[in-house]
C-alpha cells in the first residue's frame, strides 16, 4: 500500500495529503465505482520519430519501393499552428496543399472531446480578447462571430455569448470560496501594500514604449519591443525579480507561483521574469484598466480548431506520422507512415511548413548541437463527469475555480458557457508537474496507474468539495508528456530561438514553441508568418524571391 500512498503524495503534495489523511482516519478517498480511462498522445507512434534509424526503430531503408505522391505544398502538424497556416493558404486562394497529422484528430494541445453533458477541453481552454493591433487574429474571430463592436478606446469587444459569463473565477481559501484569484480575506495591510506595489510595477511595463514606439509586451510577441531594458527581464527569474522589488508577501508569492505554473508549467524560480510580466502587461490596454476579457467555449480552444479545420477541409490527412524531411534539388521529400496500417509513404512537395513541436522538428531534420534546444514540462488533465453539483460554501461556482494550497490548479466548468447552473456538469482539472527533473516527472506520470490518478484527483478536490466523490460518475485522465515549452531564464531573448523561426531553404517553421511560450495567439502568428513566407517565395520571379530564400 505504501506505493499507492507515495503516488498520492506525489499527485496532491505532502501537506494536502496529510490533511485529508487525518480527516478520513488514515484512509484517502477510494472511488472504485468511478470508471474512466488513461488517455494521451499516441506515444508509441511518437516514439517512431524518436527511434528512426535506431536499433529496433524504423529505418530509411523501409522506404525503398514505398508509394510516392506529389503535392505542391505540405504542412506537417495539425495543431493550431499548422491549421492556421492552412487557413491562410486557403484564404489566399492557394488550395494545392496537404496537411499531415500524426493523431486521428487535429488540434494538438488544444484537443477536446464531445461526450457527456457538454463538450470539454483536454488542453487549451481560453483566449484573451485581442487588442486592436492584432488585426489578423481579429479577422479569425470575426469569422467565428466572437466580436461585437468596439469600446470607447477603439478596442474590440467580444460577443456576449463567448465572453466568460460572470462569475469568472473564485479562490478557495480558509474554508470558503471568494470572488477573484487573490485571497483578500485576512490579508494584512502589508500584503495589500505589496499587491499595489506589484501592480504599479506591471503598470510601468504596460506603459513602456521603446524608441520605435513599440510596446514592451504585446500579443503576439512578434509585435513587441526587443529593447535591451525590456529584454533584461529575461535574465532574472520571477523569484529574483520579486526579491529585487522587495516583495515577499506570502499571498503575492502564491499568486505569482500560481501564474507561473498556470501559464508555463514552471516554478517561479525557473520562470523568466519577462514571461511573468508578459502575462499581465501584454493583456492590459493601459495602466489602470482591467486585463482583457477572456473568450471561452465549452470545448475550450477546440472551437477555434474546429473553425480552422473547416477551412482546410479534405486537405487534412490524419493518421500520418512524418519521420524524416529532406530537401533535394527543387523540392522537399517527406517520409511518413500510415499509422493504422504501418505502411510507408513518400510525399514530394515544392515547399513545406513544419508545424511540429521543436523537439520533433529537431528529429525530422536531424538537427544537432548548436541548434536551439528547449525544455518541456508535463501536464495532467482530468475530466470529471458529475451527476450533480457539490454543496457550495461562499461565493458561487465560477468558470475557473482555484483552491489555494493545492498543487493542482483547480478546475474549469464545461457547462458554464452553456449557461447551465444546475444539474450534471463536467469539471476539467489541471495539474502541471513542476518542481523536479522534467524527465523524471514524465516517467513517473506514465508509470502512475489510472486508479492512482483517479484517487489523487478526488483527494485533491476533497478539501473544497468533500461531497464530490459521491457525485462523480466518470473520470478520465489525459497525460501530456511534452505539454509546453518552458520559458526558463534566458530562452526568450536567445539568438538560437530567433534563428529557429527562420526559413531553411524550402522549409518554413511554425509552432508555438518558436515563441518559447505556449499560446494560441503565438501558434496562429507563426502559422500565418510561415504561410506568408511560403507564398512570397512562390510568387513569380518579378518579385525578388531570393530575399526570402537563402539557399
Amino acid at each position: 500500500m505504501a506505493s499507492r500512498r507515495d503516488a498520492l503524495r506525489w499527485i496532491v503534495g505532502a501537506p494536502l495529503l496529510a490533511r485529508s489523511l487525518a480527516a478520513c482516519g488514515g484512509a484517502t478517498p477510494r472511488a472504485p465505482h468511478v470508471q474512466g480511462e488513461l488517455l494521451g498522445q499516441s506515444l508509441d507512434v511518437g516514439h517512431r520519430v524518436r527511434d528512426l534509424g535506431q536499433p529496433g526503430g524504423p529505418s530509411l531503408g523501409d522506404f525503398r519501393g514505398a508509394p510516392e505522391e506529389r503535392v505542391k505544398l505540405a504542412i506537417v502538424g495539425g495543431g493550431p499552428a499548422g491549421l492556421s497556416a492552412a487557413w491562410r493558404l486557403t484564404r489566399r486562394g492557394e488550395l494545392d496543399y496537404q496537411l499531415f497529422e500524426l493523431e486521428s484528430e487535429v488540434g494538438g494541445t488544444s484537443a477536446w472531446q464531445e461526450t457527456g453533458v457538454a463538450p470539454h477541453p483536454w488542453g487549451a481552454h481560453y483566449l484573451p480578447l485581442p487588442m486592436k493591433e492584432n488585426v489578423e487574429l481579429l479577422g479569425l474571430l470575426g469569422e467565428l462571430g466572437a466580436l461585437d463592436g468596439v469600446d470607447a478606446m477603439g478596442e474590440p469587444m467580444g460577443s456576449e455569448e463567448m465572453l466568460i459569463r460572470e462569475p469568472e473565477e473564485r479562490v478557495f481559501y480558509g474554508g470558503f470560496w471568494y470572488p477573484g484569484l487573490y485571497p483578500y480575506a485576512g490579508a494584512s495591510e502589508d500584503d495589500l501594500r505589496q499587491l499595489r506595489r506589484f501592480r504599479a510595477e506591471l503598470d510601468r511595463w504596460t506603459r513602456f514604449h521603446d524608441a520605435a514606439g513599440r510596446r514592451a509586451f504585446t500579443i503576439p510577441r512578434s509585435l513587441a519591443s526587443d529593447d535591451a531594458e525590456v529584454m533584461a527581464l529575461d535574465r532574472v527569474s520571477a523569484t529574483d525579480w520579486l526579491a529585487q522589488l522587495g516583495l515577499n508577501s506570502p499571498r503575492l508569492e502564491w499568486l505569482v507561483r500560481y501564474a507561473c505554473r498556470d501559464d508555463y508549467g514552471l516554478e517561479p524560480h525557473e520562470t523568466s521574469a519577462w514571461a511573468l510580466v508578459f502575462y499581465w502587461a501584454s493583456r492590459t490596454v493601459k495602466p489602470g484598466h482591467d486585463t482583457r476579457d477572456l473568450l471561452a467555449w465549452p470545448e475550450g480552444n477546440g472551437r477555434l480548431v474546429k473553425h480552422l479545420r473547416r477551412a482546410a477541409g479534405d486537405r487534412i490527412r490524419t493518421g500520418r506520422v512524418v519521420l524524416n524531411v529532406e530537401q533535394s534539388e527543387g523540392g522537399v521529400t517527406l517520409r511518413m507512415l500510415d499509422v493504422t496500417s504501418g505502411r510507408p509513404l513518400i510525399v514530394h512537395a515544392e515547399r513545406a511548413i513544419l508545424a511540429t513541436p521543436h523537439f520533433v522538428t529537431r528529429k525530422l531534420l536531424g538537427l544537432g548541437a548548436g541548434e536551439l534546444e528547449m525544455g518541456y514540462g508535463s501536464w495532467v488533465v482530468a475530466n470529471l463527469h458529475l451527476e450533480s453539483r457539490p454543496v457550495e460554501r461562499g461565493f458561487p461556482l465560477a468558470w475557473d475555480n482555484v483552491p489555494h494550497g493545492s498543487e493542482a490548479l483547480g478546475y474549469v466548468v464545461a457547462t458554464h458557457q452553456l449557461d447551465l447552473d444546475r444539474g450534471p456538469s463536467i469539471f476539467t482539472w489541471y495539474r502541471p508537474l513542476t518542481g523536479r527533473d522534467p524527465a523524471d516527472e514524465r516517467r513517473r506520470m506514465l508509470d502512475t496507474s489510472f486508479e492512482e490518478w483517479r484517487d489523487g484527483v478526488l483527494t485533491d478536490l476533497a478539501i473544497p468539495h468533500p461531497d464530490l466523490g459521491s457525485r462523480v460518475r466518470r473520470l478520465d485522465v489525459w497525460r501530456w508528456g511534452h505539454a509546453m515549452p518552458q520559458p526558463r531564464v534566458g530562452l526568450l531573448s536567445s539568438a538560437s530561438l530567433r534563428r529557429a523561426r527562420e526559413a531553411r531553404g524550402r522549409l518554413h517553421f511554425a509552432h508555438t514553441d518558436l515563441s518559447g511560450m505556449a499560446l494560441f495567439e503565438e501558434s496562429f502568428d507563426h502559422g500565418l508568418r510561415a504561410a506568408d513566407e511560403l507564398l512570397a517565395a512562390l510568387a513569380p520571379p518579378a518579385t525578388s524571391a531570393s530575399a526570402v530564400e537563402p539557399t
Partner: protein, 505 residues
C-alpha cells in the same frame, strides 16, 4: 487519566475547531435563510468571524494567571453561546427588528471565544511539548477539525438534524469537552475553581438539553415567527424554501422568505403583468410564460377565448405542483394549471430557450424572481434577451416583470436599457401593488410601437382603459436615468439590485 492527557487535549482542539466552524456556518446559513441569499451577506458574515478570531487571539495575551481555569471557562462560554446561537437568531429575527446587531453580535462573541481557546490551550501544552512540534500538531488538528466540521455540516448535520438541533448538539459536545478538561487539567486548576466549573457546566448542559427536547416546537415557532400569518404549508424543494401562509382575509406565498404574492392584491400585479401585452398583440393563439409557476398570470391569460395554447416554463416542480394540487391555490388560480391548453415544462428558462425556443409566440410573459444572484441575474442579460428573440415574431408582444422603479430605480431602468440593446423597442410602465409597493414592467416588441390604450377584455378588477394609459406615466422620482446594461460577462444588474435594496431593508 494522566497517561491520556495529551491525546485528550488534542481531542479538545479537534472539538473546538469543528464546533467553531459549525457555529460560523450556522450563522451564515441562518442569515442567508432569513435575509435572502446574497453573496454580500455571506462575505460579511465570514469577514466578521475571521475578524473576531483575531480579536480572540489578541485578547489571550491579557490572560496572565490561572490559564487552565480560564481555558475551561472559555470553553463553557462557547458551549452556551454556540449552542444557543441558531435558536437565538431565529427567535430574534421573528420577534424583533434588530436582527443585524444580534447576528453580528453572536458571530463576534463566538468568534472571539474560539479565537481565545487555541492560544490558551497552546500555553497549557507549552509546558509539555517543544514549540515547533506544538505548533505543527495544534494547527494540523485545527485544520482537520475545520474540515470535519464542514464535511459534517454539509452532508450529515443540516440534512438530518436541522439548524437548531445542530447548534444545540454542538453546544453539548463543547460542554462535555469542558467537563472532560476539568479532569484532565485537575492538577493545574485550584480545587474550589474545579467545583465551580463543574456546576456551571451542569447548568449549561441542562439548558441545552431542554433546548433539544423542545427543538421541534422551537423550529415551528421560529419559522412561524418569520411570517405574520399562520403557515399552512411549507416545503424545502431542491431549489428553495416554499411557504404558504393564510389569515382570514388572504393567502401569501413566500419563496426563500421573499413574498411572491398576497391574495389581497395579487390581482393588481397580475392584471398589470398580463393585459397590456394582450392589448398590444394582434393575435393571442400561442402564449409563452417563463416563470409564473403559481398559475396566477395563467388565470389572467385564460380570460381570452382566443388563447389556443400556452407553454409555461418554470424551474421548480415544487411550486407548480403546489399551485396545481393545493385547494387554496386552485381556488386562487382558477385551476389554470390543469387546463388542457397548457403544456407545463419544469426547466431552466435559458436552457429551454436555447434547446427548444424555435417558433414565435403571439404573447410572451416573463415573470422571474428579482435578480439577487448571478443565476437569476443571467435571466435579465442582453444574452438572454437575444435568445428570447428566437420566440418573438413581427407582432409578438413581450412583457418582463422588472422590479420596483421606486425602490430599485437603476435596476428597473437597467432592464429596459438591456432589452433595447438586444434589439427590442420598449415602453416601461408601473402599477401600485400595496404588498410590494410601486412595481414595474417592460412592454416590448421587435419594432417601434405605441403603448396600448384599449383593453381587449372586460370585467377586470384593477384595470380599465383610463388606468391602462396612466400606467405608462412616471412621476419624477421614478423617471429613467442613465445606467449600464446587464450582460452575461458583466452582471451590472446584480450589483445595482444589491445596493438599491440594501438601502430600504
Amino acid at each position: 487519566m494522566q497517561r491520556l492527557r495529551r491525546p485528550l487535549l488534542f481531542l479538545t482542539v479537534l472539538v473546538i475547531a469543528t464546533a467553531g466552524l459549525v457555529y460560523e456556518l450556522l450563522a451564515g446559513t441562518v442569515a442567508s435563510y432569513v435575509l435572502g441569499d446574497s453573496v454580500r451577506q455571506f462575505s460579511i458574515t465570514i469577514g466578521a468571524y475571521l475578524f473576531a478570531l483575531g480579536i480572540g487571539s489578541y485578547l489571550s495575551r491579557y490572560v496572565k494567571e490561572g490559564v487552565a481555569a480560564r481555558f475551561i471557562e472559555v470553553e463553557l462560554a462557547t458551549a452556551l453561546a454556540g449552542g444557543l446561537s441558531a435558536p437565538l437568531l431565529f427567535i430574534g429575527f421573528s420577534q424583533g427588528k434588530f436582527f443585524g446587531p444580534l447576528l453580528y453580535g453572536t458571530i463576534m462573541v463566538i468568534g472571539t471565544l474560539v479565537g481565545l481557546e487555541i492560544p490558551l490551550l497552546m500555553r497549557i501544552l507549552k509546558e509539555e511539548l517543544d514549540f515547533e512540534e506544538l505548533i505543527a500538531r495544534v494547527l494540523t488538528v485545527d485544520y482537520v477539525g475545520a474540515l470535519v466540521g464542514s464535511v459534517l455540516f454539509a452532508l450529515v448535520l443540516v440534512p438530518s438534524l436541522g439548524l437548531n438541533r445542530t447548534s444545540l448538539t454542538f453546544g453539548l459536545l463543547n460542554c462535555a469537552v469542558g467537563v472532560l478538561s476539568t479532569f484532565v487539567l485537575a492538577d493545574v486548576v485550584p480545587k474550589r475553581a474545579l467545583l465551580r466549573l463543574r456546576i456551571t457546566a451542569s447548568a449549561i448542559a441542562v439548558i441545552l438539553v431542554a433546548g433539544l427536547v423542545y427543538a421541534d416546537r422551537l423550529t415551528t415557532f421560529a419559522e412561524q415567527g418569520l411570517y405574520a400569518d399562520p403557515i399552512v404549508y411549507s416545503q424545502q424543494s431542491a431549489y428553495q424554501r416554499v411557504v404558504l401562509t393564510e389569515n382570514p382575509h388572504s393567502v401569501q406565498l413566500f419563496l426563500n422568505g421573499n413574498l411572491q404574492f398576497s391574495s389581497a392584491d395579487e390581482y393588481r400585479y397580475h392584471e398589470a403583468l398580463v393585459h397590456p401585452a394582450f392589448a398590444r398583440a394582434p393575435r393571442h393563439s400561442r402564449v409563452l410564460i417563463l416563470g409564473g409557476g403559481d398559475g396566477l398570470a395563467l388565470r389572467e391569460v385564460f380570460r381570452y377565448p382566443d388563447v389556443e395554447h400556452v407553454t409555461m416554463v418554470d424551474l421548480d416542480p415544487a411550486v407548480t405542483n403546489l399551485a396545481r394540487q393545493i385547494p387554496t391555490m386552485q381556488r386562487l388560480n382558477h385551476n389554470s394549471l390543469s387546463d388542457p391548453r397548457l403544456t407545463l415544462i419544469n426547466a431552466d428558462a435559458m436552457a429551454w430557450l436555447r434547446a427548444d425556443g424555435r417558433r414565435p409566440f403571439d404573447v410572451v410573459i416573463v415573470d422571474f424572481p428579482d435578480p439577487n444572484n448571478f443565476s437569476l441575474g443571467k435571466l435579465y442579460t442582453r444574452g438572454f434577451y437575444r435568445l428570447l428573440m428566437r420566440v418573438i415574431g413581427p407582432d409578438t408582444a413581450l412583457v418582463v416583470q422588472s422590479t420596483s422603479p421606486m425602490y430599485a430605480r437603476k435596476s428597473f431602468w437597467c432592464i429596459a436599457r438591456t432589452m433595447r440593446s438586444a434589439g427590442f423597442s420598449t415602453h416601461s410602465y408601473h402599477a401600485h401593488v400595496p404588498s410590494f409597493g410601486e412595481w414595474g414592467y417592460v412592454l416590448a416588441m421587435k419594432h417601434p410601437f405605441e403603448p396600448p390604450t384599449q383593453l381587449r377584455v372586460d370585467g377586470l378588477r384593477f384595470l380599465n382603459d383610463a388606468t391602462l394609459a396612466s400606467l405608462f406615466i412616471f412621476s419624477r422620482d421614478m423617471q429613467e436615468l442613465p445606467v449600464r446594461e446587464n450582460t452575461l460577462n458583466d452582471q451590472q444588474l446584480v450589483a445595482y439590485y444589491e445596493h438599491e435594496w440594501s438601502l430600504w431593508n
